[in-house]
Symmetry: D2
C-alpha cells in the first residue's frame, strides 16, 4: 500500500467536495473557522508518519479531549470510575439531558457531555483546575512527543459564554450527587480542555498510546487492557449518536469533536487524525468521516475482517 499516495488522493477528493457539512455555530469562535480546510495525518506502528492537506494547521480538539481525560481518570480511579458513569451508547444527542433524568444522574458513557463532565470532575478531586489542566497537557504532550500543544483561551472563554447547556448538565448531575468538586471549577476545567488546539500531525502522534503496537519503542502510558477498553468505548460511543454508522462504514474506533477533528485508532497498526470543520447531521466531521471510510477500506484496516 502506498500510503502517501492514498492520503494525497483522499485529500484531493476532500478539497474537490462541494457538500462540506455545516460548521458548528453554537460556539462563536468555532463558527468563524474557514470550512474549506482539510487535513489528515497517519502514524504507523513502525514509527513512520504521513500527512496530507492542512495537517499542520491547529484546530480546536473539543470532545476529542475526552479520550485523554478518560485515560487520566482511569489511571487515577481505576474501575471505581464506572460507579459514576456507564459504558453504553446513549441513543440521544451528545448534550441531551433526558437520559440523565431516567437513569438518575448516571451518564450513559464518558463521551457524551454529561459523562465527560463526571470524568473531569473525577480528575479534579483534590487538585486545582490549573493543576488538572497541567496534568492533561503533560499527558498529551508526552503522548505526542511535542511540547507545543496549548489551550486557546479565546475559545475557552467562548465555550464558557455559551455554556448554558453544560452548566445545566453539571447542576443536574450535582442534584444527584454526581459532581464532587465545585461546579464552576469542573466547568472551567472542562471548557479549557475542550479548547486545546492541535494539528492533525500532533493529534495523530498523541493517539499512538492507544495503538498498542507490538514491539513499539513508544513509552507506554497505559496498560494493554485499558487500551482495549478505551478503544471499545470509542467504537460504541465515540461518534455520539452516529457511532453505529461510523462503525458500519469505517470499522475503527474513533472520537470526534465539534471542531471537525476525528482521532481514529487502527489497533496494532496506526493512529490517524483527520480534520475538516464542516459537520454532518450527527455533529461529526462530514469529510473527515468520508475520508476515514476510504482510508480504512483501501488500507484494509477495519477491525471487522
Amino acid at each position: 500500500m502506498d500510503i502517501e499516495n492514498l492520503l494525497e488522493r483522499i485529500s484531493a477528493a476532500a478539497r474537490a467536495e462541494t457538500d462540506r457539512g455545516a460548521v458548528a455555530d453554537y460556539i462563536p469562535e468555532l463558527a468563524r473557522i474557514d470550512p474549506s480546510q482539510f487535513g489528515i495525518s497517519v502514524c504507523l506502528a513502525n514509527g513512520a508518519q504521513y500527512s496530507a492537506g492542512d495537517a499542520a494547521t491547529p484546530f480546536s480538539i473539543q470532545s476529542i479531549s475526552k479520550i485523554f481525560s478518560l485515560a487520566l481518570a482511569l489511571g487515577r480511579l481505576g474501575d471505581s470510575l464506572w460507579h459514576r458513569v456507564g459504558r453504553e451508547p446513549s441513543g440521544y444527542a451528545f448534550d441531551s439531558i433526558v437520559q440523565l433524568e431516567y437513569e438518575k444522574g448516571i451518564p450513559r458513557n464518558p463521551f457524551i457531555n454529561a459523562g465527560a463532565l463526571v470524568v473531569t470532575d473525577a480528575i479534579l478531586a483534590g487538585s486545582t483546575p490549573a493543576e488538572t489542566l497541567g496534568e492533561m497537557l503533560r499527558f498529551i504532550r508526552t503522548a505526542a512527543d511535542d511540547e507545543d500543544i496549548r489551550i486557546n483561551e479565546r475559545v475557552a472563554r467562548s465555550e464558557k459564554a455559551t455554556g448554558a447547556r453544560n452548566t445545566a448538565l453539571a447542576n443536574y448531575l450535582l442534584s444527584y450527587g454526581n459532581m464532587h468538586s465545585a461546579i464552576e471549577l469542573t466547568l472551567g476545567t472542562y471548557f479549557h480542555q475542550c479548547a486545546i488546539e492541535m494539528t492533525c500531525e500532533q493529534l495523530a502522534r498523541s493517539g499512538r498510546f492507544l495503538m498498542n503496537a507490538p514491539g513499539s519503542s513508544l513509552p507506554r502510558l497505559i496498560s494493554s487492557a485499558r487500551i482495549r477498553r478505551i478503544n471499545a468505548l470509542m467504537m460504541t460511543c465515540g461518534q455520539y449518536n452516529g457511532s453505529g454508522d461510523f462503525a458500519f462504514r469505517v470499522g475503527l474506533p474513533g472520537k470526534s469533536g465539534v471542531g471537525g477533528g476525528i482521532l481514529v485508532i487502527a489497533p496494532n497498526r496506526a493512529s490517524i487524525a483527520v480534520w475538516s470543520p464542516g459537520l454532518n447531521s450527527y455533529g461529526n466531521s462530514k469529510l473527515g468521516t468520508e475520508a476515514m471510510e476510504v482510508l480504512a477500506r483501501e488500507a484494509g484496516w477495519s477491525v471487522f475482517g
Copy 2:
C-alpha cells in the same frame, strides 16, 4: 495457545459457578430449560473445531437468528434495506416501543425486535412463510455444513402464544407503513425463525461465513464488505442494551439470544458459540458473556489491540 485446554478450563469454571443468572421466563418453553448447562465451541480459520461442555446439546437460538435473516435481506435488497431500519444502538430494551414512536416507525437497528421484524418482513416480500423459512434454514445449513438443523415447533407455538409485545411492535410498524406483508405472516415467520435449534458445535460452524478468513476453503456466502458491516452492527448493537459493556469486556462482535446462546466472531480468526441458559440483567447469557471475556483475553482475540 492450547485452545483445548483453555475451553476445558472455561467450561469447568462455568460449571462451578453458582450465580448463573435467570432463565428467560416469558416464553414457557424456554422457562423449562435446565440452567446448569454450559457449552462452548470454537471454529478456527484453519478449519479446526474445538468444543467443551454441553456443546452437542441443541438449544433455541432465538435472536441469534437475526444475523441470518439480516444477511439474507441484505443479499436480496442491498442497501435499500437501510431506508426501513437504522444502524444505531437503541439505548432502550430489546422489545421497547418508545423509540419507534419518537422516530416514526423506523427501528434503530436490525437486532432489536422491531428492526428484526422489518428485516423478516423484507425477506418475506413475494414469498410464503414456508418458502422464507426454507431459505433461511438452507442458508444456515449451508453455513454450518449440517442438514440436521431444525425449527422446534413447540417453541414456535410458545412464542406465538406469548407474542403480544411483538404483535404490538408489528402493528405499530404497520401504522407507519413499515410492514409490507400481512402482519400474521411476518409474525409467524419471525416466531419460527426464533425457534430454530442448534448445538454450540453447529452454531459455531454456521458463523464461519462472518469470519472472513483469508485463504479459507469455505464457500463464500456474502461479500467481505458485507461481512465487515454485519460484524460492525453486532459490535454496536448485538447485545441489546448491554452492547457497550460486551465490547468493553470482550472486544468482539457477537449476537445473543434469550435462549442463552451467543455467537461471537473473531474476525479472520474464529467463530465461537457459547451457551448457558441463565441471563444477566441485559438479557444476555451471564456465564456465556463471562466465558467470552476469558476466551478473548487469553486468546488475545480482542479487535481493540
Copy 3:
C-alpha cells in the same frame, strides 16, 4: 340571555370562518366529510333545547363514545376500574404508546385510546361484542330519549382497516396483562362504538345525564358523585393534549372526537353539542372549540368564576 340569538350568531360566525382546520384523514370514511359544516345544540336544565346550523346532520361521534363506555364501566366495576387505568392527563398524543411503556401497561386516563380500550375491555367481560354494543346503544338512546341512534358500519369497517395503531396499543396492553377479553373482540367493539353516529341535537340530549340538574325530571342514569368525577376527567383529560388549553379558554368539561364533535357540560346548567369536521393541532374541532369559547363566555357558564 337570548340563547337562540347567541347560537345563531355563533353559527353565522363559524360559517364565515375561512380557516376551518383539517379534516381527520387517517380514517378514509371521515376524510370524505364536507368541512364546511357546523352545528350546535344546547339542552338547558329546564328542559328546553336550542339549536343552530347543521344540528340535525348525523356525524361520527368517535372518541365522544368514551364517555358512555366509561359510565357503563364504572357502573359495572365501580372504583376497581381504577386499578387498570389512571386519572391523570397524559402529556402525550391521544394514540401515543410511549407512556404505556414507562408506566407498565396502565394507561394514564380513560380518554386516551389505550385507556378507552381498557374501559371497553372491562365492559366486554363475560359478554359478546353484540351484547356490549347493544348495552352501549341502549344507554345512549335512553340518555338522548331517542331510539334513532345507530352505528355506521362503513365507518366501523374503515376504522378496522386503518386500526394498526389501536391494534398495537391493545397488544401492548395484553403484554402487561391489561386486556382480559380476546383482542379482536375488544378492538371490534371499540371500532364500532367509535362509529356511532349522532346529530348535535341527539348528542346534546344524550349528555344531559352529566348535567346534574337540580330538580330535573330526567331519569337519573348515574349518581351525582359519579357525574362529578366524569366531568372532572373530561376537564383534565377530555381534549387530549389540548385539555389545558380548552379549560383555559372555555372553562367547561368536554370530550372531543376526531369526527369534529365535542360534547360539553355546563354543570347544573346545560349540555352542549357542537360539531365542525376541521380539527386544530390537538386533534379537536377547531371551530367547535372557538364556538364553545364564545358560548361559555357570553353565557357566563365557566365553572371558574
Copy 4:
C-alpha cells in the same frame, strides 16, 4: 351548612390520622417541620372567615407562590407570556427536565418549576430582585389585607443551598433563550418567593382575589377573565402530576406547595387554605388533600355538578 362544625370535624379527623405522609426532605429547613400539625381556614364570599386547627401557625408557602407570580406576570405582560410557557399538564414530575428537551425550552405550564422560573424571569425584567420581591409581597399583603407576611431568609438560603435541580432547569431554559435576566438573579428571586411564610388564615384571605365573588367589597386585583384562566390552570396543572386525581376527588382548582399547604378556590363561593406538612406520592399534602375532599363534598362546592 354549619361550616364551623364541619371544619372542627375535619381538623379532629386529621389529628387522629396516623398515616400522615412524609415531610419533604430535600430542603433541610422544611425537613425539620413537625408533621403532626394541621390547619384549615375558609373565607366565604360574604366576608366571613372560619378556621380550625393550627390555622395561625406560619408555614412556607413554596409553590403556592407561583399563583401570585403568575398573576403579576400576566398583569405586566398580558398574553405574550404564553409565548414563553404553555398551558398544558406536563405528565412529568414537578422538577422534570425531560419535557423541556422534547419541547425545546418551552415549559408545559407555569406551575411546574421550569414554568415558574420563566414567570419569575418575566416579572424580573428591568427590575432588581429586591424590587420584584417587594412587588410580590405588596400584592400578597394587599390580597390578604395583612402587612405581617414575610420571607423566611433561612428557608431561602436552604433552597439556594439545595437548588441544583432548579439551577439546571434555569440554565437549560437559558440554552434555549428562555431566560432573559441573569440566571442568579432569577434563581435568587425564585428561592425567596418560595420562602414566603403565611398562616392558613392569611393564605385563605390572600386567595380571595381568585374567588370572583359577585358583589364583593374586596378590592379587585385582576379581571374576571384572568381569574377564570388562573383557576383553570390550577385545575389542570395545580397539583403537579396529581392534578387529575385532585380534580377527580375534590373538584376544585387549587395550588399545592411542598411545605404542605394548599390554596383552593371555590369559584364565587370561597377561598380555602389547608396545611399539613406530610406529603403524598405526588408531593402534595396528604391530609390537606383528604380534608379538601371532605370539605368540597360536604359543602357541595365541586364545580362539576
